[in-house]
């Protein structure tokens, strides 16, 4: 045991020993039982960061990484642009909750607000999954399907694990790529995540392997994995092809009001990677996520990013086209209802020649909701013949709803072709009347128009997700009839 670990063990342990449910043989060498429940101190401190690493029994390099990230976060401070984050007080937040396998992180099912449970029921989410989503569950029992797929994947050499396990079982691959796409220096919230990360997915698809069935994060779903600070690392080796799907359309409930994930994706030469997520956090959550892909020669990366829940979201999937002929695609959906601010968009950075990108963003604002498109297209010098096209459409459902577009375009290459198109439309009374004369109720007519508006993006989703998205929009549209 190194000096650093030793010192921290001493520091953490006296407290830890007071907690119940712990098994330990010697003072410095104890194991926690699987159902051990632990909450860090409130707030983000060096000590909390140490506690996390200690409880996860991590290698020293990871502990050092976390501490360095913590220092960076301390120095950086919060961004001075974008939505109002005034309501986000770190001193109220538990940065690490080690779930109990039986009770999860939230304690009891009865503690989950009725409206959240009602939404689960109406979405038809199976109860086991409901409990897992709400953080009160044991592991979601999709075992049968998952195990069969898992065997197939293992045969192909595909690694698909939660990130903590990934670090333990594949330290070499992990260390080679971890934090190379998004270093802690990148931005404040990436630094915070780097300091306190827990859970997430670790995916490695070897050279030339095509995975036909989407790798779905819910296979790995357990209370810890729907944590606040998940860290996902996805590597597509040369010539690989796969689709990763994160999250569910059912609202992920958390009593903690802060979610800040980091998603890193490496698309090596000639690989084709898709990442789809439809997120629907409960309406108390600040959802501040950094997700980025590094795309090498002739590889392609596709993001499908849907943001429906949360109080405030800041999320701009970015794609760095660093290899010649690389291609990036972003499809983005944002739905902001009363009191919500969805600040979403995309970044595309063209560094290499003959790179292409396309961004389609669809946002909907309802009630007092506000949605913003914030996008960046950057064409570096030397990225000859780069092509990029951005299309963002906003739909306003009410008088008080608001939408903004902040498109930043920086071109340092004469041969670049860049297109940008933005539209804002209002829900059209004539369309509603027309649909009603065909027998559809007002709410149904409105939600059909909204679904049609989102269709160009939604049709890229696997069917079961598209169906769930539709149901969710119907729920959101209810109560919008005066």
């Amino acid at each position: 045991m190194s000096d650093l670990t030793n010192q921290i063990t001493k520091d953490v342990h006296p407290d830890a020993a007071k907690l119940e449910g712990m098994e330990h043989t010697k003072q410095y060498d104890f194991k926690l039982t699987e159902d051990y429940f632990f909450k860090s101190d409130r707030g983000l401190t060096r000590r909390v960061v140490e506690q996390i690493s200690y409880f996860k029994n991590e290698p020293e390099w990871m502990l050092k990484f976390r501490l360095r990230a913590f220092e960076i976060a301390e120095k950086k401070g919060r961004p001075k642009w974008g939505p109002d984050l005034g309501g986000l007080n770190f001193d109220d937040i538990f940065f690490y909750v080690r779930p109990n396998e039986k009770q999860g992180t939230a304690g009891s099912w009865d503690d989950i607000p009725e409206e959240v449970r009602e939404t689960y029921r109406r979405l038809g989410v199976p109860e086991a999954e409901q409990r897992a989503l709400a953080g009160v569950g044991a592991q979601y029992e999709s075992e049968m399907v998952y195990h069969k797929l898992k065997e197939e994947w293992e045969k192909l050499g595909v690694i698909f694990l939660d990130t903590d396990t990934g670090l333990k079982e594949h330290p070499e691959i992990f260390k080679e790529y971890f934090a190379t796409v998004i270093p802690p220096e990148d931005n404040y919230f990436a630094a915070v995540n780097s300091a306190v990360w827990s859970g997430g997915s670790f995916v490695y698809v070897p050279e030339g392997v095509h995975v036909d069935v989407p790798l779905q994060a819910y296979f790995l779903l357990n209370a810890e994995n729907i944590g606040q600070f998940e860290r996902t690392l996805i590597i597509g080796a040369p010539g690989s092809k796969f689709h990763y799907i994160e999250g569910c359309t059912a609202p992920a409930y958390t009593s903690n009001s802060f979610h800040s994930g980091v998603i890193e994706i490496v698309c090596q030469d000639n690989s084709h990677v898709r990442y789809s997520t439809i997120q629907n956090w409960s309406h108390n959550v600040y959802n501040l996520v950094t997700q980025r892909a590094m795309v090498h020669a002739n590889a392609s990366m596709g993001w499908l990013d849907g943001n429906l829940g949360s109080k405030t979201t800041m999320k701009y999937p970015s794609t760095y086209l660093v290899g010649e002929g690389a291609h990036g695609e972003v499809l983005s959906i944002a739905f902001a209802t009363d009191g919500q601010h969805q600040d979403a968009g995309a970044k595309v950075i063209h560094v290499a020649p003959n790179t292409t990108s396309s961004v389609v963003s669809k946002s909907i604002s309802k009630g007092t909701g506000r949605s913003s498109y914030r996008g960046l297209v950057q064409i570096h010098q030397g990225a000859t013949n780069a092509r990029s096209n951005v299309e963002c459409d906003a739909l306003l459902l009410d008088e008080n709803a608001r939408t903004d577009t902040f498109p930043y375009i920086e071109i340092n290459e004469k041969t670049a072709h860049v297109g940008h198109e933005a539209t804002v439309s209002k829900l059209d009374d004539e369309q509603i009347f027309y649909l009603m004369t065909r027998g559809l109720g007002q709410a149904e007519a409105m939600s059909l128009i909204v679904r049609g508006f989102l269709d160009p993006v939604a049709k890229e989703l696997p069917l079961e997700y598209a169906v769930e998205l539709n149901r969710l929009i119907e729920l959101e549209m209810e109560g919008s009839v005066g």
Binding site: E430, Y434, T437, R438, G439, G452
Partner: protein, 253 residues
């Protein structure tokens, strides 16, 4: 007399807060009959169509609309539709991203109880039959509602919907406008296919040519927000030859 009719009684209506457009319309369309409503521009024909369908832009200030004896004035447009009323729009709107098939399935299911949704096969059979009736290519059902449709295709879509939804009463608002002769024939063929003892229609048109294809049982003439003349199908011919001035003078409108 039987209640199987659409009856307009002394109807006065205007655009909300605006001037009166309908000034006491009286009209009866029994089920099983096709009536034509003709009249000069601005006489209130399209307003009547929209008021019957329940367009919230208009308000009824007096009179009543009875569907098989029941007043529909207090009903929302969707309730009226579920009661068996259909309006083929003069200018059908576009609804991007919504396929015709998907939309019609929802519209049919809106008429049925929860749990009694139409079967997939039954629905597609119905839809295919209607598409065929209109000499249309089957791929049309996967296209989005009127997105990128020509004027003629939009009108054809209105008749396609009529054939699938099978209303008891349909109002066709200038379905012939903007159609070339071939399209006119196809659309008329569709309407004629819907004709039968259980179907009543009010065909609004400015010109007599549509009535060569959809031969009406009765012709009404509207001038200045009122029905000023009602007669047999020959009345349409007379109007075509003599123009509307003749009616105006005759009734002193």
């Amino acid at each position: 007399m039987s209640d199987k009719k659409l009856e307009i009684q002394g109807l006065h209506a205007r655009i909300v807060g605006g001037d009166e457009i309908l000034r006491g319309v009286d009209l009866v369309v029994p089920r099983g009959e096709v009536h034509a409503l003709m009249g000069p521009n601005g006489s209130g024909k399209s307003t009547l169509a929209k008021v019957i369908a329940g367009d919230p832009q208009y308000e009824v200030t007096a009179g009543d609309i009875l569907l098989e004896g029941q007043s529909i004035l207090e009903m929302e447009p969707d309730e009226r539709a579920r009661e068996g009323l259909y309006l083929a729009f003069q200018y059908p709107v576009e609804v991007p991203g919504v396929s015709i098939a998907n939309f019609l399935r929802l519209a049919l299911n809106a008429r049925r109880e929860d749990g009694d949704e139409i079967g997939v096969m039954e629905f597609y059979k119905k839809l295919q039959r209607a598409v065929k009736e209109l000499n249309w290519d089957e791929s049309i059902i996967e296209r989005n509602l009127h997105e990128g449709f020509s004027g003629g295709e939009k009108k054809r879509s209105e008749i396609l919907q009529l054939l699938v939804l099978e209303p008891r009463y349909a109002i066709l608002d200038e379905t012939d406008s903007g159609l070339d002769v071939d399209a006119l024939k196809v659309v008329s063929q569709g309407v004629n296919a819907a004709r039968g003892p259980e179907f009543g229609a009010l065909v609004i048109t400015h010109y007599q040519r549509l009535l060569n294809h959809i031969v009406p049982d009765v012709v009404h003439v509207m001038v200045h927000g009122r029905i000023v003349k009602t007669g047999p199908k020959e009345l349409a011919m007379e109007l075509d030859q003599k123009g509307y001035e003749w009616v105006r003078e005759a009734v002193g409108a």
